[in-house]
Symmetry: C2
Subunit: 508 residues, 2 copies
Amino acid sequence: MITGKNYIGNKLSANGSVTHHTINPKLNIETSTPFFEATEAEVDEAVTLGWEAFKTYRKIPGFKRAAFLNAIADEILALDKELIEAYTTESGLPEGRAIGERGRTVFQLRSFADLVSKEDWRENVIDEAIPDRQPLPKEDLRKTLIPLGPVVVFAASNFPLAFSTAGGDTVSALAAGCPVIVKAHAMHSGTAELVASAIIKAAEKTGMPNGVFSNIMGRGRTVGTALVKHPKVKAVGFTGSISGGRALFDLAAQREEPIPVFAEMGSINPVIITSKALDKRYADIADTYASSITLGTGQFCTNPGLILTVEGDNTQAFVQDLAEKTIAIEAQCMLHPNIKQGFVENGQSVTSQKGVEIVGVVEGDLEPNYAASLIATISGADFLANPKTGQEVFGPFSLVVKCKNEEELLKVINNLEGQLTGTIIAEEEEYANLHDLVDALENRVGRIIFNGVPTGVEVCPSMQHGGPYPASTDSRFTAVGANAIKRWVRPVSYQSFPNELLPDALKN
Amino acid sequence: MITGKNYIGNKLSANGSVTHHTINPKLNIETSTPFFEATEAEVDEAVTLGWEAFKTYRKIPGFKRAAFLNAIADEILALDKELIEAYTTESGLPEGRAIGERGRTVFQLRSFADLVSKEDWRENVIDEAIPDRQPLPKEDLRKTLIPLGPVVVFAASNFPLAFSTAGGDTVSALAAGCPVIVKAHAMHSGTAELVASAIIKAAEKTGMPNGVFSNIMGRGRTVGTALVKHPKVKAVGFTGSISGGRALFDLAAQREEPIPVFAEMGSINPVIITSKALDKRYADIADTYASSITLGTGQFCTNPGLILTVEGDNTQAFVQDLAEKTIAIEAQCMLHPNIKQGFVENGQSVTSQKGVEIVGVVEGDLEPNYAASLIATISGADFLANPKTGQEVFGPFSLVVKCKNEEELLKVINNLEGQLTGTIIAEEEEYANLHDLVDALENRVGRIIFNGVPTGVEVCPSMQHGGPYPASTDSRFTAVGANAIKRWVRPVSYQSFPNELLPDALKN
């Protein structure tokens, strides 16, 4: 059923001659289907169809868009084993994870369907006229949110379902009334095509206009660049590396008409552990964090890549214990060879810096795309002196910084780049003294976790997934939760309008 | 009382040697005070003070920030005649306008004071824990909005009070908890210094940290560039020309850490008048629009610079009547010689294009900075063929486009760049046929007005002042109304937090 073709609107299309294969990282072999990179003309056709579809799709009532989203969820579930097999084959992730992530994807679809089945997500405001106001009468003025136009979504490699073809960016944009053109991740093109086929089926069954969704294949940057530069594209969503996200942000900012790019990029997610917490329960903390660091082979944007401590009696014991427990967890496969290569290179880059000591690393021969988990340590002074020690190592890696005192710890936090999350592990008797720490973290992160782990991102209204640059390109928005829809809409005011011409949400 | 110096925090400072004078445009002479351009060191000092002030100011409770804003309003009123005199001298605008605009400025200050005296503007969300949820427990998660950091505000020349030193950008940023560094408009530096002195007095009286506000002088782009590139600046507000706003947007996007720029820029504010409306009441419409076009010498961002009609029996009579009534209104002074020069040059550029006919223009000798109001006309086909006919002519100018039919009219609208406003003048019996027109306008503008004029921007929650590029650089936000505060804040989530460490707004 996987054809290797693009979906240009409802039509399968493969007019180009450039192809690529996906890789089964566990077997370290290419899969058999050639995937056809979209040509310039196919890219233009997809966006133009999206633009035409926008004219009607933006006006389709919320409950019908909700039916479309629910139908996508149904069609994804109907793909059943074929989808799970493509997912596990192309990602190297286990079946349990595939099923869990499919559940999250379906939940996101149904959550946004619920959200837009009523109109109150649009922040509707009605200010009625005051004809006898002095010195001037006040006109009737009403405001709602309307969709921006066609949105391009770049799929994430590390969530082949939940942040990919029918993932959070796509579903929030479709919910808002924006057609979506997905640039499939080249390393899970088969999974992408299957999910795209589910979206197209759902669109046809629920009577959505042709062009409301397209799925574009391609390796390298040609196709993505053409999409972001296309004048009919009005916004971009991206999840991935800092270099990739920044390149798209720059392209979008340099357009004649700049467009918003919401890129969710790198983060090392600092975890601050007080020495009291280590004194009381370092072994428990080491247990919890060994699991968190290696979860999904460390391939989460919220992976705890940096642990900050103030050196005390049990710091060294904790570091040892964490390292032992981390490397005791069976080595797992990474998403694809490029991710493995990046993990090795960036890990070596950090561990070769002055003052960095490897405390534990998985030794011996591993299968080609399996990751050797690694725990290293460094002093606060060395960490502060050298920005290279703070670079992201995407994978099962964490660097423990041993600060000499609280002051140095705060300096380290204030010196960090923007992060998705920050975590505090502390004892109850210390809470009253933690205000400065919370303050410092607030300025650097989008979410602060107390006595927990940063991995695990709840889909709910109070979730903030995004943070100061480079965690994301616009910290004012979130990529997860109901408010993710706000990235793709803008307010319009209607002054002194006849009731019949107002959008339904604003009528008397 | 006007010293010509910068306010670097609470301190008057003039370490530089570059000076400029403001101009009395009515007399066409320079005013006497030399204003000192801030040096690079003064710029850095102002931003660094702002950064230091941010650490405490962001934590000051809302009711205290409200007291600060109300005190600014009081101090502005206390400047009394001195302020009105500086305003009218430097702007050429009449005293009535000065008093009206001061009223608006005070109203904005008090509105934002009201808004932030309670904490619900922060969109607080509390999702409580569900410990027994299956398959995984749900953690307690709460979200609120926190300020971004120091904000740089570029003052608008056309609103020396309401969109300037203590104008909408400044007050919304201060309300949010962001220190503000204003780059004063060079052509009303004296007015700016007086208002800055009121802000500083208010800050001292209400115990705000030094650096919560600075006022930076300068002509040209040196000082503004240094401000936008400063790493401790976290957002920018701007009101002015497209070229100015775009230059700042580009600078901000090219930073190592890109920052949001909200620039409210050019707009020609299309007004669509149906031929039925012209048949029934063209003389009334001409009256209303002659006033709107010349209001404030046409120097409003919502000035109706483009009138779209479908040619009918009374179109020519309307155009003649509009031209006669517009040029019958006494010529008025423009803000400064550069604005006058731009008005003349851009007007000549438009009227020299193929197919443009001048229907009426104020003739004879005018004082140097006074504007000769001008009404011109063009066919829909010529307008569509030549983008230069759609450029903004800032001042009392309007171009009437005569389309041959509805289809051409819609084509003209779809072809327009983004606009702040669009207006529809129509008869009640036509309403049922106007859905396509409203649809087309929705995609191009931020506010649609029915049977009214675009000039006059109400300060209320339902106001949208901003639109697709180039009306503004981010159509998702507004420069006027309560939501203007959203430009300067970002969400933060708190997961499993002890009650005592939560921000007050999120506590149990």
